[in-house]
C-alpha cells in the first residue's frame, strides 16, 4: 500500500519536472544536427560533449569497464557516419541511446566466451575496488533500474536530464530511480551494511 502511494506521488509532476518537460524553445540537438549535416564538424563535437556521459553510463550498465571507453568512441564515429539517416533531429538522444544498447548486445555476441563481466573486480586500488563491487550489484538489478541508477549515481545526471537525454518520460525515470535505489539499498545492507 505504501509502495503504491509512493509511486502515485512520484508520478505527479513536480513544478521543476513540469518546467523541464514544457520547454517550447527549439532543442539544441536540432540546431546541432542540422549544422553537422551542413558540414560543421565542430557541432558534432558539441553533441559528443552533451551525450558522451549518457553513452558511457548505458555501456557501463552492460559491458566490462575496460571496454567502455573505446566503445564510446566507436559509437560516436558510427553515429557521425549515419547521422543522415536520423529523421527526427530532436530525437538524437534516444537514437544514440538505441545505437549504444545495440552495440552492447553485439559486444556480447562477439565475445561471449572470452570476456567476463567481473574482471573489473581485480583492481588494486581499494576505492575503485569498492566502486566496482557496488557497480556489480547495480548490474544485478533489472535493466530499467540499472541504467537509470548508473546515469544518476555514476554519471551524476539528474532525473530530468536522464529523461531529456534518453527520451524516457520523467515519471518513468522517477519510478526507476526510486525502485532501483530501494533494491540497491537492500542489496548493500545484505552485503556490507552501508
Amino acid at each position: 500500500m505504501f509502495e503504491l502511494e509512493a509511486t502515485v506521488d512520484m508520478l505527479l509532476p513536480t513544478p521543476q519536472a513540469k518546467a523541464s518537460t514544457d520547454t517550447p524553445e527549439p532543442r539544441i540537438e536540432v540546431v546541432l544536427v542540422k549544422a553537422v549535416l551542413d558540414g560543421d564538424r565542430d557541432s558534432f563535437g558539441r553533441l559528443y560533449d552533451l551525450y558522451a556521459p549518457m553513452v558511457h553510463g548505458i555501456l557501463l550498465a552492460r559491458i566490462p569497464r575496460s571496454e567502455v571507453d573505446d566503445l564510446v568512441q566507436d559509437i560516436f564515429l558510427h553515429a557521425f557516419r549515419k547521422l543522415h539517416t536520423l529523421r527526427d533531429w530532436a530525437a538524437f538522444g534516444p537514437w544514440i541511446a538505441m545505437i549504444t544498447r545495440n552495440r552492447a548486445m553485439d559486444f556480447y555476441r562477439r565475445s561471449k566466451e572470452t570476456v567476463e563481466v567481473t574482471e573489473d573486480l581485480r583492481s588494486t586500488d581499494p576505492g575503485t575496488s569498492r566502486a566496482n563491487e557496488i557497480l556489480e550489484l547495480i548490474r544485478g538489478l533489472p535493466e530499467a533500474y540499472r541504467e537509470t541508477l548508473i546515469l544518476r549515481l555514476v554519471e551524476g545526471m539528474t532525473g530530468p536530464e536522464i529523461a531529456a537525454r534518453t527520451g524516457l518520460t520523467a515519471a518513468s525515470v522517477r519510478v526507476n530511480l526510486h525502485r532501483g535505489m530501494k533494491q540497491l539499498r537492500a542489496k548493500l545492507g545484505y552485503v556490507e551494511g552501508l
Partner: protein, 182 residues
C-alpha cells in the same frame, strides 16, 4: 531516503546517496576528444528527394500513356476492318440410313415413316422473342420438328448400341444379362 535529492539533487542531501555518488563517481565518464579527422562528412539529407521521386514516376506514367494512345490510334483502323463474323448456328439432323430400324421406330411411336413426314424447313430457338409470338401453325411445326429430332436421336442411339455390340463380338440378337434369365 530523500526522494527529491535522488530525483534532481534538490532539497536536503541524502547522506547515503551522497556516499554512493562519491564512491561511484570515480567510475564516471572522463572527457576525451573525439577524432573525426579520418571520417567522411555525413551526407546531408535531401528533403525534396521523395517529391522528386513522385514527380518522376508521374512523368514516366504520362509519357507511357501518351505513347500507348498514339500506337493505339495508328492500329485501330485495321482492327475495325478486321471484324470477325461468327457463323450462324445450324441444326444438323443426322442422316438415317438404316431403313429397317427407322420403320420399327416409326411404327412404335405411331408416327408416319421418315419418307412420309414433312421436312422441317426452319427451327428457331424457343426462347427468342420471335417464338413467343408464334402462331398456332408455327407452334405445330415446332412440335413436329422436336419430335423429328427426338426420333433422330433415338435412332442414333440405337445405331451406336448396335455398333458397340458388334465391336464386342456379340450377335445383335443376343440377349444381354443372360444370367438373370432362368
Amino acid at each position: 531516503m530523500n526522494e527529491e535529492y535522488l530525483w534532481d539533487k534538490s532539497g536536503e542531501p541524502d547522506p547515503e546517496i551522497q556516499q554512493l555518488e562519491q564512491i561511484l563517481g570515480t567510475l564516471g565518464y572522463e572527457p576525451k576528444p573525439l577524432d573525426l579527422s579520418a571520417e567522411v562528412q555525413p551526407r546531408s539529407r535531401n528533403r525534396y528527394l521523395p517529391l522528386m521521386a513522385i514527380a518522376a514516376t508521374l512523368l514516366i506514367a504520362l509519357i507511357a500513356g501518351a505513347l500507348w494512345l498514339r500506337v493505339r490510334s495508328k492500329t485501330s483502323p485495321q482492327l475495325d476492318s478486321a471484324k470477325i463474323q461468327s457463323p450462324k448456328p445450324q441444326l444438323v439432323v443426322p442422316k438415317v440410313e438404316d431403313k429397317k430400324t427407322n420403320d420399327i421406330l416409326a411404327t412404335a411411336s405411331g408416327k408416319p415413316s421418315r419418307d412420309e413426314r414433312p421436312k422441317v424447313k426452319q427451327v428457331r430457338h424457343p426462347r427468342t422473342p420471335e417464338t413467343a409470338k408464334m402462331t398456332v401453325s408455327e407452334h405445330e411445326q415446332a412440335l413436329e420438328a422436336k419430335e423429328q429430332l427426338m426420333i433422330a436421336l433415338r435412332l442414333t442411339s440405337e445405331k451406336l448400341n448396335l455398333a458397340h455390340r458388334k465391336a464386342q463380338g456379340a450377335s445383335p440378337t443376343q440377349i444381354r444379362n443372360q444370367h438373370k434369365v432362368g
